[in-house]
């Protein structure tokens, strides 16, 4: 084979491998999410939250920011504004009206710490059983019975691997759906966004 033919053949192989990999990922939501998580340093988006319980549905909105490894900032806007910061296994929860900060260990409370935001699906599988349902849905079932939710369902954006929608089924019978905007990935989010800094003098209550 001439060097030129070998070059074309090599390029063809690379292309074929890339295409087959993409085709495999397109039909495999686990692989899609895994790729999104592995290739992400940071990500941010907005969300619309719809809660459904015995008395109907209510809507709020908020923002989500993520930075590897396992740093998450969730902000809920509106009448009962709140901020949750996750760093590793520790969760800080603050409400301006509350005049105190609740600090807890997610593991001790039975909850997987950062919903679905971890370094890879393999890391997620330490706290969840991860099951694919169809081409774009993953169902995450917490391994511990102490978790406040019984199931997390992710509907993925087939182009990016990031969720378009997350539905939390709580053990109390309520469900919470987060409809995400487009994730802005690897644009750089300052580490300070994930520092548990709150108004000076606000007491921290260790749960």
């Amino acid at each position: 084979m001439s060097p030129r033919a070998a070059g074309w053949t090599g390029m063809g192989l690379v292309l074929a491998l890339a295409l087959s990999s993409a085709a495999g990922a397109a039909g495999d939501p686990r692989a899609q999410l895994d790729r999104a998580l592995r290739t992400t340093r940071d990500a941010g988006t907005t969300f619309r939250q719809v809660r459904t319980d015995a008395l109907g549905t209510t809507e709020t909105s908020g923002r989500l920011e993520y930075r590897k490894p396992r740093q998450v900032r969730l902000e809920w806007l509106g009448v009962a504004a709140a901020t949750a910061i996750v760093r590793g296994d520790t969760v800080w929860f603050y409400q301006p009206s509350q005049k105190s900060i609740l600090k807890s260990s997610a593991a001790a409370g039975g909850a997987p710490p950062a919903l679905f935001l971890d370094e890879s699906v393999a890391v997620l599988e330490r706290t969840y059983r991860v099951e694919a349902r169809g081409a774009e849905t993953l169902v995450l079932t917490p391994r511990t019975e102490r978790s406040p939710w019984s199931r997390v369902t992710l509907t993925l954006d087939l182009q990016t691997g990031w969720p378009r929608r997350l539905v939390l089924a709580a053990t109390d019978g309520s469900s919470t759906r987060l409809d995400f905007g487009r994730f802005r990935v690897n644009r750089g989010i300052a580490a300070a966004r994930f520092a548990p800094r709150f108004p000076p003098g606000t007491p921290v209550i260790d749960l």
């Binding site: 939250q49 009206s97 019975e145 939390l168």
Partner: protein
Amino acid sequence: MSVSRSLVALAAACAVLGAVPYAHAARLSGDALLAAVQKARVERRAQVATVEADVVIGLASKAWGGAGTCQGRLAAARPGSLRLLGYVAIATVFDATTDGDRFWLYLPTMDRVITGAAAEESLLIALPVLPGEIVSALFGEPYGAPESGLRVIEVDGTSWVAWDLAGGHEVRARYGANPTLLERAELWEGGRRIARLDYHDYRRRRGVWWPTRLDFDWPEEEGHLSLTFDQVRFGGVIDPKLFHFETPEGVVVVRASDPDRFGEGAP
């Protein structure tokens, strides 16, 4: 902006919001006050058989060691049924239910339901979510309907209406006039005021005068609950099943009379 233009703007804003503010009139006294209160109660019973609302809930409790705000939804039906759910972020904080005979207070973070007969509700004052007290307040009969006739008493130069409840408690209520609307109610036991309830900023919503906020206080326990109303609806059909709580699987059920009802170290 001129005064007249300001008034037009206010009227337009009220029309958009569907709410008309309540203007105070001179207070009534004596038999005129009693007659007005009786009439207002009869009208209220006919006008508001059910209510559903989105609310912002403020909670403070000495036993809880802090204060918090959560969003919530409520549904209530006469004579004494209520469901009130409080949640924050992605978590349910509490789910309080009563059908008038029994109550259930579900605390998901503690994995427990505290339940008992309506008469045992006061055992929960340390955690100020009292479904029976809330529903009677919503329907304008604070702390329960009178066991005996109404009477007028004078408090610091203002005429209040008082009535007695079973168990020796007295309710004292102050009303605004024209229309006759509750402003404050107090629950007295002997010479002690053990609870207070304030109705704030009435607005006319869908033909019904309704407070923008209710504040419940239990001074001795330093307990406080506030309900700030949004999206109030009247007269809807509510499934009675909503007022009977079904305990989720795996949740501990404790009696209100159990001394350890709040569990170790919790509120």
